[in-house]
Each structure stands twice: as C-alpha cells, then as structure tokens.
C-alpha cells in the first residue's frame, strides 16, 4: 500500500512539473479541464455519489431482482384492467340463469376464483394491490416530506426545540397502534383517513432522527467553513446536510411501505378499514379469513396473502440493500 502511494505521488509530482513548466501565470490559475487519461496518472477520480450507489446496489443480485418484481407488480396493476376479457373488480357476476357465481374455485373462467358474492378475485386482487401500494407509497412520501422539513427545523431552529420535543413526548408515549385506531375511529373510513392516520405517527420518528443528525453534523468543520464563505442556511441544509442522510431516509421510506400495508390489514380487521367497494389487500385478507375454516375456500385467503408477502418482503430487502449501497463508507 505504502509503495503504491509513493509511486503515485512521485508520478504526480513528475506530472505536475512537466505540466507547469511551460505555462503562463494566467494559465496556472485557471480551472483545469477533466481529462480521462490524466486521471490514470494522478489518481484523481470523477467520483459520483449516485453512480457509486447504483454500482454497489447492482452487486446485490437479489435486491435488483426484487426491484424488477416490485416494478412489474406495480406496472401490472395498471395494465391488468386494460387487458381483454377482464372482469370489473366490483361487478357481481351472474351465470346464464341469473344466479351469482358464488365461491367458484380457480379455473379457466375465473383465474383466481370468485368470492362469496360472485366478484372476480383476480380483478379484485390487482385492484386491491394498486390501492394498497398507493396507500403505502403515499404514506412513505408524506412521512418523508413532513419528517425532513420538521426535522431540519427542529435541529436548526433552537426556539422551536421545546414545541417539537413536547409533540414528540406525547406521540412517542402512546403506542402507535392506539393512535391509529383512535384516529380511524373518529374519522370516517376512507383512503384519505387511513393515509392521514398512518402519517400522524410516522413523521415524528423521521423528524427526530433527522434532528439528531442535524445537531451532530451542523457544527462540523465543513459546515463551519461553508458558513464562513457565506453560504445561506437553506443551501447548507440542502447541499451539506441532506446528502449525508439519504441512505437512512431511503431506508425509512422503504420500510414504511410494508408497515403501512400491514397496518391496513390490521385496521381492516378491527372493522375500521376501507368500504368494500374499494378493494384493498387488507380487505381481501379479511374476507378470506372469514372463510378459512373450509379448506376448499382457502384459496380466497391464500392468494392475497401471497401478494402481500411478496410485496412487503421485497420492499424490506430492497430498502436494506439500498441503504447499504447509499452509505458512502461502503463505496469502492
């Protein structure tokens, strides 16, 4: 290692000497251009944070595969209604004599079978996946957005500290599940209510984490230097602080999606979930649960659970892999 460094630095010196010999004063004090062959000589690299992140993420084959799985599922939830001969997820299907197709086992006509009132399970599962993913992704984004802003304010503006600390004390002391139940109980069940109830507890955790990091980093030398040359506070926050936190923010976002889907299943079970004309994975699992005692109808529980498991495990693994990859300490 030492030998290599010596060689590199002697090369560097040689290089600089030959380079500067015939230069005028002005040339010496202007920016140099980036040249690929020069980097070989000096060890200067055009390091890019996002490219390195992507490179180390791609090394994790399982995670890359799961990204495609999730994207595929997400895409398919939108493509599925456009495919030929699909049923409407809310339509009750009748046979020729006007009777409902109740609890038909999976087959050629109904790929995943029908439920107890004759709705097509295949269509319902994809519509439900779309709604559940929508809830999960919205929750993750809102939490991150509110959490980052609140966290930065909390860490940077001293006067706001006690207000946020008080809010944190209250929210942290009540179990999340209870807040979730209370809010969904008071408001009317709808997609908006669910998203609101889930975001109500999640943002403060994100904010607290960011606040702690901000307090640790804000007075480091590079930020002091930045302040000395006159960078404005917003610029310091956006350029100096937030990139440092990307890996953890992404991890939290990725994990809050499966958590939101799980919460939705739970809230639906309690009876505070979405109305039945808005299919969701939680609602489907709950419908399937009611029938799980008869083995021939168990498919109504098993199909939604498989989808839920694939989606949640994928997000969990992708999130962890990405946060490893986004940590600059793991680059190179």
């Amino acid at each position: 290692m030492a030998a290599l460094r010596n060689r590199l630095s002697s090369k560097l010196e040689e290089n600089v000497n030959t380079y500067t010999e015939n230069m005028s004063e002005e040339e010496l004090f202007s920016f140099a251009e980036y040249k690929e062959e020069n980097t070989e000589k000096t060890g200067y690299s055009n390091y890019s944070y996002w490219r390195s992140t992507l490179q180390s993420f791609c090394k994790n084959k399982v995670a890359v595969f799961l990204v495609f799985v999730v994207l595929g599922i997400l895409l398919f939830t939108f493509i599925q209604p456009l495919l030929p001969s699909q049923y409407d997820p809310n339509a009750i299907n009748n046979d020729a004599s006007g009777l409902q197709y109740r609890n038909i086992a999976p087959g050629a006509q109904f790929w995943f079978g029908t439920n107890s009132i004759g709705q097509d399970l295949w269509a319902r599962i994809w519509a439900g996946t779309r709604n559940s993913l929508f809830i999960g992704i919205s929750v993750a984004c809102i939490e991150a957005f509110v959490g980052i802003i609140a966290g930065v304010l909390w860490g940077y503006v001293r006067k706001l500290d006690w207000i946020f600390t008080e809010i944190y004390n209250v929210l942290d002391n009540i179990p999340n599940t209870i807040i979730l139940i209370l809010v969904s109980y008071i408001l009317k069940p709808s997609v908006k209510t669910l998203i609101f109830a889930m975001c109500l507890t999640g943002w403060i955790q994100m904010a607290r984490f960011i606040r702690n990091q901000v307090i640790i980093i804000r007075d480091r030398e590079y930020n002091l230097a930045s302040r000395c040359v006159g960078s404005s506070t917003p610029k310091i926050i956006v350029r100096n602080l937030l990139p440092y936190l990307v890996s953890v923010i992404m991890l939290r976002m990725a994990l809050s999606i499966p958590a939101a889907i799980g919460n939705e299943v739970f809230i639906t079970y309690i009876g505070l979930g979405l109305p039945t004309n808005i299919p969701s994975l939680g609602g489907l699992i709950n419908d399937g649960r009611a029938l799980m005692m008869s083995p021939s109808l168990r498919y109504q529980l098993i199909f939604p659970t498989i989808v839920v498991s694939i989606v949640t495990i994928s997000f969990y693994i992708i999130g962890n892999a990405f946060s490893d990859a986004a940590d600059p300490k793991n680059h190179i």
Partner: protein, 313 residues
C-alpha cells in the same frame, strides 16, 4: 438521583395530562349515538335530556374539569352500548388479569428463546445458524403480523388438535396465542442482541479475556452478554406493553376475554366511553413503560448517571 427521578416522574405526569385532555376532547367530536343504548328509538327531547344528564352539553373546559374529578375518584364513566349502564371500571377489572397473564407468558417465552438465539447467532456469525436466524428475522419483520398470525391459527390448531377458539381451562389452548405474540419480540431481541454482541466482541476487554485463556463460553455469557444486554434493558418494559397491545389482534382472533379483544368489540359497537377508557389505559401504560425503561437502565448500568443530565430528555 432522587431529584432527577422526581423531575422525570413529573414530566411523565405532564405528558399524561396532555394526552388525556387531547383524547377526551377528540372523543367529544364523535357522533352522539355512541352515548345511548337505543339511539334510534329515542325522541329528540329524550336525547337532549340524556345529553344534559351526562353533562355533554356543558362547555368543553367544564367537561374536561369534571372528567378529571371523576378520574381522580377512579370513575371512568358508564358503558352505554357494549353493556348498558355498567361502570367501565367493572368491565375492565375482569379483563385486565387475562391480558396481563398472556402478556407475561409471552414475554417470558420471547426472552427465553430470543436471547439464546441472538447469542448463538453472534457466536456462529456467518455460519448456517446465523443465516437461518437472519432469514427468520427478515420474514417476521417484513411480513405483516396480521398475516402470519392467521396461518399460525389455521395450521397450528389442526396440528395441536385444539379448537380454533380459546378455552382458558385447557393448557394447550394457551400455546398458539403465546407463540404468535412472542414471534415479533423474539425477532427483535435476537436481532439487536446479535448486533450489540458482534460490536462488543472486538473490544479490548474481550481480547484480554481470551488472551488470559478464559473459555469461549464464559466470555460469551459473562463478558460480552452482560454489556450487550444493557441497551436492551431499556426496551424491556416497552416491549412488555407492546405485547399487551399487540394482543389486540391475537385476543380478538382467538376470542380471548382480555382487554385487546374488548377494544375491538367496543369499536364495532361504537361505545364511546369504553373506547375512551381503553385508549387512556393503554396510553397510561405506555407512559409508565418508558419511565420504567429509563429507571431500569440506570439500575443495570452503573456508568449511566442521571445526575449530570438535568431535567427532561
């Protein structure tokens, strides 16, 4: 120490007062059906008289003060819809012991399984036991609990040949609920203990011990474990409470006559007073849990002194 303790308890009390007030005010925004047993059959006049009798027409601050007066007398109001005009306290007092018993059993199981699991995962880091354990942890943390609970109930009950629903007199009936409730905590304890132990095992005192020729077993249990367990101690009371909370789903699945199942029942019946009482109970328990966690931490680790910290967290 006692000064800090006093301040810390005072803080918890303050937080509790804020929580109770917020919950109380929020619950007043609910539709008034939740205060009557047979709302549909009542005339407008009867409703007004009823509301006045319950003090629900007073201005909000008066209501809050009255509520605190009641609370100090240990009165949580009456149940209206779940059971007509029975004091909430009477209903709760029969349910709480069941939940506490279930929760304690489950914590015991999760400590007995989770700690050795984490310890062995740290010890055989990178070997098959570690990989197997990691897989288990990923599964438990990623898949919603509401989903795997169902399958435990479904296949477990056929495996053990027990009825789906709970029967307190049969010991075998306790097995499935307790296992379901423990899985999350087992994963939690194993994951963190493994991480702390792995961090701890590269430290100098461990090297010294192994240089002196202390057996590996003894280093693991006597040296590393003790230090790695300290951060987990703080979580212990909270995890006990979370277990009691997590039981909302379990208790209602197996129809266990405890608090969690009760909460689901009263929500379905829109009984405002009952919901309020149970939510407040859980919140109180949460506050106490965090308080106990902080106190336990100082007892276990003599290096942590609360004196220098000043008030608050």
């Amino acid at each position: 120490m006692s000064k800090y303790l006093f301040q810390r308890i005072l803080r918890s009390l303050l937080t509790l007062v804020i929580i109770i007030t917020i919950v109380f005010v929020l619950m007043r925004q609910m539709p008034i059906e939740g205060y009557f047993e047979n709302f549909d059959k009542l005339t407008e006049e009867q409703i007004q008289v009823g509301l006045e009798g319950m003090g629900l027409l007073d201005p909000m601050p008066v209501q809050v003060v009255n509520f605190y007066k009641q609370l100090l007398n240990g009165d949580l109001g009456m149940s209206r819809r779940y059971r007509a005009n029975v004091p909430v306290v009477d209903i709760l007092s029969t349910k709480i012991p069941v939940s506490v018993k279930l929760g304690s059993l489950s914590i015991l199981v999760s400590l007995l399984v989770g700690l050795p699991m984490g310890m062995n995962m740290a010890r055989f880091k990178g070997k098959w036991f570690d990989k197997f354990g990691t897989l288990f942890i990923v599964f438990i943390q990623a898949v919603p609990a509401a989903v795997y609970f169902l399958f435990i109930q479904l296949y477990g009950s056929t495996l053990l040949k027990v009825p789906l629903l709970f029967d307190a007199s049969k010991p075998l009936c306790w097995v499935l609920p307790v296992i379901s409730m423990s899985l999350g905590n087992i994963a939690y304890y194993a994951m963190w203990l493994r991480r702390y132990m792995v961090d701890e095992s590269t430290k100098d005192y461990v090297r010294l011990a192994s240089a002196k020729g202390v057996a590996e077993n003894k280093i693991m249990t006597r040296h590393i474990f003790r230090n790695a367990f300290v951060p987990l101690v703080q979580y212990l009371p909270t995890s006990f409470l979370n277990t009691v909370i997590g039981s909302i789903y379990i208790e209602s699945l197996y129809s266990i006559p405890g608090m969690g199942g009760l909460l689901v029942d009263v929500i379905k019946k829109n009984d405002n007073n009952m919901v309020q009482a149970i939510v407040l109970l859980y919140a109180t328990v949460g506050v106490i849990g965090l308080l106990l966690g902080d106190i336990l931490m100082t007892l276990v680790d003599p290096r942590i002194s609360l004196k220098n910290k000043g008030g608050g967290r």
